[in-house]
């Protein structure tokens, strides 16, 4: 797989995420800019910007889902937009895990099935034992066989985190995971994300407008407006 084949010239592993002068948008229209961001393997970073500033667009551009108008992105040493369409789908599925603000789970499927969805969508072998283990570790093991629509918001979010981690990605991109949560819940979610990403050896980038998260992170980048 092309993603794993990337090794730096000095033999070290490339860092999980390297962004330089990225301008992202839709249909040729620039939406947001990110000057520079480096997140090493297993490290965590914060992408701060007010609501509507284009954080999601930047995250999606890093995964090759939104348009990269200019600048460079390397995820685990690979420029996603250099890949063919099919290779990009696979690369995204296996190298990047997503956690969204609102869209967590597919209704009608159980929590466990939702976690396995990551393997299903990418077309790789589904490992229920691994999925259960992740669910247990995230503290929602008891709800594994409940349908998604019966889960609380918190349970659904933890399921989404488990799903993002299922295929042992190099990078987790979390979009506003803490908005509309109270301070305690906010800190808890940030902690769960950090801890589980760390345990799995995945780098973590949280895009948020939530300044309460600032103290928890040392690597912080800010969304800029495209010129």
């Amino acid at each position: 797989m092309e993603a794993q084949a990337n090794i730096n010239a000095d033999g070290s592993e490339p860092c999980a995420l390297a962004v330089d002068g990225l301008v992202a948008g839709y249909a040729g229209r620039p939406v947001a800019r990110l000057d520079r961001l480096r997140i090493g393997n297993g490290e965590a970073g914060l992408l701060l910007g007010p609501s509507g500033s284009g954080k999601t667009t930047l995250l999606l551009a890093m995964a090759g889902l939104a348009e990269r108008i200019s600048g460079n992105v390397l995820v685990a040493g690979v420029a996603p937009y250099s890949l063919s369409r099919h290779a990009l789908d696979r690369f995204r599925g296996q190298t990047i895990g997503f956690v969204f603000q609102n869209v967590h789970l597919v209704a009608g499927l159980t929590l466990l099935q939702n976690v396995l969805l990551a393997a299903f969508a990418t077309g790789v072998r589904q490992d229920p034992a691994r999925a259960r283990e992740l669910i247990e570790r995230l503290g929602v093991g008891a709800a594994a066989d409940q349908r998604a629509e019966k889960l609380s918001r918190g349970q659904a979010q933890r399921a989404a985190i488990a799903r993002a981690l299922l295929l042992r990605p190099r990078l987790i991109l979390a979009d506003e995971p803490t908005s509309s949560l109270d301070d305690t819940a906010c800190a808890a979610v940030a902690e769960v994300l950090r801890r589980s990403a760390h345990e799995e050896g995945a780098a973590l980038l949280i895009a948020t407008h939530d300044h309460r998260l600032r103290p928890h992170f040392s690597t912080i980048a800010t969304v800029g407006t495209p010129t």
Binding site: T56, A66, V103, V106, G108, L116, A118, F120, T122, Q126
Partner: protein, 400 residues
């Protein structure tokens, strides 16, 4: 997690909509399948009862009437033909086989046919009990007739004049000497006897006694109602009808031609039903197009999520197509089952009215209808599937 499971969970989310949709498709398929089954059932019935008879020689009159009366036990005969003339035809070198039939009486609504045992051979009907007749007034009952009339070997019965009901020929009772196995053909509903029995029953009767033409043996000489002819070669088809028609009293009737005429007459009604069926199927397809589109539109964020999780466009297109195919399959199977059920019901009702028809076994037609239903649903789901393929995850999730 499989594609099928995901498709099923999507379907399960809007049970009412898909129930209606599937019902609509089922009705369309049901109507189409019923029409096909009915047509084939009738065709099979006719084909079976034609028994390979190439030509029927009867008294001058409507050829359709001759075919109906002498082959299918419907309608009255056109009259009788003199035995010598029938024998002259039978002796023609182009005739491979000639079986006489004489009609005129019934027992409890079942026609008594004066003929030879060769008649039963035409339909591959074999004796279940007893033996064939050896003298006049011995009879062999068809399976259905025997069952309904509670006739078994050794029983006696009295024929009635005409083709149903009528004055009893009490002076000349028949004796049952044999009962036939069911053959699935018209023979099941007949009581067979020797040609001479019919003559004996009507011996001495006045030619004017019967109101229905052809029921009465004329005073001057022996007669039969019709002669069922099988050609020796294709030449027979060319020559024999002309030979027959040249005789002033005789009429040649081709069962194949007459059956085709009936089928064409029935075809008009079937045509109307066929258009209704097509309209229903188109409506169902239209419903699929709209409802699947709406469903996909509502599901945009989840489908976008699947894309983000690594699913290719093709995977989403296959997912939606599979969903449509499942719905199409359920609708078609339901429709086919309904059609079968209805036909089975019709079969038993028709049997009670003496108009049995032969329900064809499950076959290639059902497979074709099933595939057509599934293909129709998949085609109708194609716009929605393509819509799903073109969902832009950035646009869907960027809004959130």
């Amino acid at each position: 997690m499989t594609l099928v499971r995901l498709a099923l969970s999507f379907i399960a989310r809007r049970p009412a909509v898909w129930l209606l949709q599937v019902a609509m498709l089922a009705f369309g398929v049901w109507l189409v399948a019923s029409l096909v089954l009915l047509e084939r059932g009738i065709e099979r019935r006719f084909a079976h009862d034609m028994a390979g008879v190439d030509l029927i020689v009867g008294a001058k009159g409507s050829p359709l009437q001759i075919v109906l009366s002498s082959l299918f036990a419907m309608d009255t005969p056109t009259g009788n033909i003199p035995l010598e003339q029938a024998q002259a035809i039978a002796r023609n070198p182009l005739v491979a086989q000639a079986v006489p039939v004489s009609i005129g009486d019934n027992v409890g609504g079942f026609r008594i046919v004066g003929t030879t045992p060769a008649y039963a051979d035409l339909y591959h009907a074999h004796l279940a009990h007893g033996r064939w007749w050896v003298k006049p007034l011995e009879a062999v009952a068809g399976a259905t007739a025997a069952r309904r009339l509670h006739l078994s070997v050794g029983d006696q019965f009295v024929g009635q004049h005409g083709l149903s009901g009528g004055e009893a020929h009490s002076a000349t009772p028949f004796r049952v000497v044999g009962v036939l196995q069911p053959s699935g053909s018209i023979v099941d509903r007949l009581v067979l006897t020797d040609t001479s029995s019919v003559w004996k029953v009507h011996e001495g009767e006045d030619a004017d006694a019967g109101a229905i033409p052809g029921l009465v043996a004329a005073r001057h000489g022996r007669e039969v109602t019709a002669l069922l002819v099988k050609y020796r070669s294709a030449m027979g088809a060319v020559v024999l009808p002309q030979v027959v028609t040249a005789k002033p009293d005789l009429q040649a009737a081709s069962p194949a031609v007459e059956v085709r005429r009936i089928a064409r007459a029935l075809g008009v009604g079937a045509e109307v039903l066929r258009w209704i069926a097509i309209a229903l199927l188109l409506l169902a397809a239209g419903g699929f197009v709209v409802n699947l589109w709406v469903a996909i539109d509502q599901r945009r964020p989840e489908l976008a999520l699947l894309r983000v999780l690594g699913a290719s466009r093709l995977r989403l297109v296959s997912l939606i197509s599979l969903e449509a195919a499942i719905l199409g399959l359920v609708g078609s199977v339901l429709g086919l089952a309904l059609a079968r059920l209805l036909m089975a019901g019709l079969e038993s009702v028709a049997e009670q009215y003496g108009a049995e028809f032969a329900l064809p076994p499950l076959g290639i037609t059902e497979v074709l209808i099933l595939s057509a239903g599934v293909i129709l649903a998949v085609l109708a789901g194609l716009p929605a599937a393509i819509l799903a393929g073109y969902i832009d995850p950035a646009r869907e999730l960027g809004r959130a």
